[in-house]
Amino acid sequence: MSNSSSTPLPNTNQAYAQAPAVTQQSRPIRSKSVWVGVVLPLACAALLAVAQPFWSSYLSDLIVKIMILSIFALSLHILVGGAGLVSLGHAAYFGLGAYAAVKAAGPDGSNFLVMLGAAVGASGLYALIVGALSLRTKGVYFIMVTLAFAQLAFFVVHDVGYFGGSDGIYLMQRPALGALDMESSSTQYYVVLAALVLVYAFIAMLRHSRFGHALSGIRVNEQRMRAAGFATYGYKLAGFVIAGALAGVAGFLLASRDAVVNPELLAWHHSGEVLLMLILGGVGSLRGAVLGTITFVLLKEVLSTHAIVGNAADHWQLSLGVAIIVLVALLPKGLVGINDKWQKKAQAQSEKAPAATEKGEHHG
């Protein structure tokens, strides 16, 4: 039996938890209504698709960035929200994906599929190796081992000449597949949007599958899962590899958007940042991951824009920090928590005044 108490993260071993078990962090498995789970995300995606021609190129660019980071955050969500495995090295898979894509590209005419394949393959493979080793550990130790392996990858990319050193390498030609040419920014937009929709759908499906439920079980109480007959190591490793490979997809998209990669992509503070986005959104749901990403990116964007906040933009760090602290203080369950609160309130109201059933449909 491991000692859960001295490892503050995550709270997997319930053996000694006899304090009130239902706390604010509890996340029962429950099926969301079709409305919130399926229709809303699809509607958002459709809206994004239709609106593209009206965005300015800057906005379109910003949205592409948010979407790529969302894919990145979603991939991490498989681990953090799904299996309770907090990885502080996820940027490594993102960065390796980007590097692999660039390395797989020919000097002229880069094949979209080859690059994508290389990205997924490289990050998936590295995730397999890292996962196999790091899943022996738990809690904070797991966090730190994933960090250690990410740092290893960082230094390899940074110090080995083949990867172009600290200044990184360029992609001479953005990937293309027939008419699908990533040189065009609207193609970029739609490709990334499609990828986001697919990844979101895939992870949602994963969560509702027996595999996903097994991961949740492992998150809550791995000991019991093993006693019931789940080879938990295999489940976790599979989750780890999937998460790594999807991060590779995000990395590939980033590389084909920026056409330049550098070691900083793998840096630990990017692993930290994506984790923060997740926590900000609330680790309980996929919407949280996307919501957190949007909020984080927009907050920073807004707070550092002179046109909006004037000279306060010079001190965007300060204001972003304050904003984060306020959000943490007010939102114990992250941003999705607001939505839940509203829903509850609306429910309570509709219960009190049964006549006003129409009003019940409040969504954040």
């Binding site: 000692n3 108490s5 009130p20 239902v22």
Partner: protein
Amino acid sequence: MLETLAEKPGTAAAQAMFSLQQIHTYYGDSHILHGVSLALPQGQAVGLLGRNGMGKTTLIRTLMGYVPAREGQVFADGKNITGAAPEKMARLGIGYVPEGRGVFPNLSVKENLLMSARAGLDGQKNWSYERVLETFPRLKERLANGGNQLSGGEQQMVSIGRALMTNPRLLILDEATEGLAPLVVAEIWRVIAQIRQTGISTLIVDRDYKKVLAHTDHVVVMEKGRLALQAESAQLQAQPEQLSALLGV
């Protein structure tokens, strides 16, 4: 006889060491305790019986201040202390042995015991480290084991010993004999009797109602968050039919 336990403030109940008045407790939206009143007078042993899920633990947790009562008051020595935090309650002389023991896994047995050592409210130090070990000789052999390296029964002993180390005037035992071997259970009842003799009050929750009746002055039976029956233990021992209906035995 019922009146001795649940009275209006200002009368005997207010004089009691600890008392609860018309307590309503909720977990989130679910209403668990419905207007419970209970007095724990000095030097008395009170038994709390009831089937699973009737609110015994909740009542104790409310008294201890872990769960706030939404309505009602808590008194200590006649003073209204509603809303006092657990540490305050403990300082007022309650030794708490929770359901499920709550042994600190990362502390050794010795540390588990020593960490709570303290003189009682009136300065008495009846319970010392040595005396606890004498009471539970099994622990002597396990002093260096971490709390998570103990058998279930050993943990129970640590939990009781730790509560005694605070030299309480009221000892709350929530299923303290759960998981203990018969010999040890007998020993614990013996200790309880001994404690009772030294004038420490006890509030005992235990599934062995016969033993509870034998070791208490009063018994309170809970049903769905209400007090269904209050009586003197001796009387119930003589006429157990009332109990059988409530406990399903």
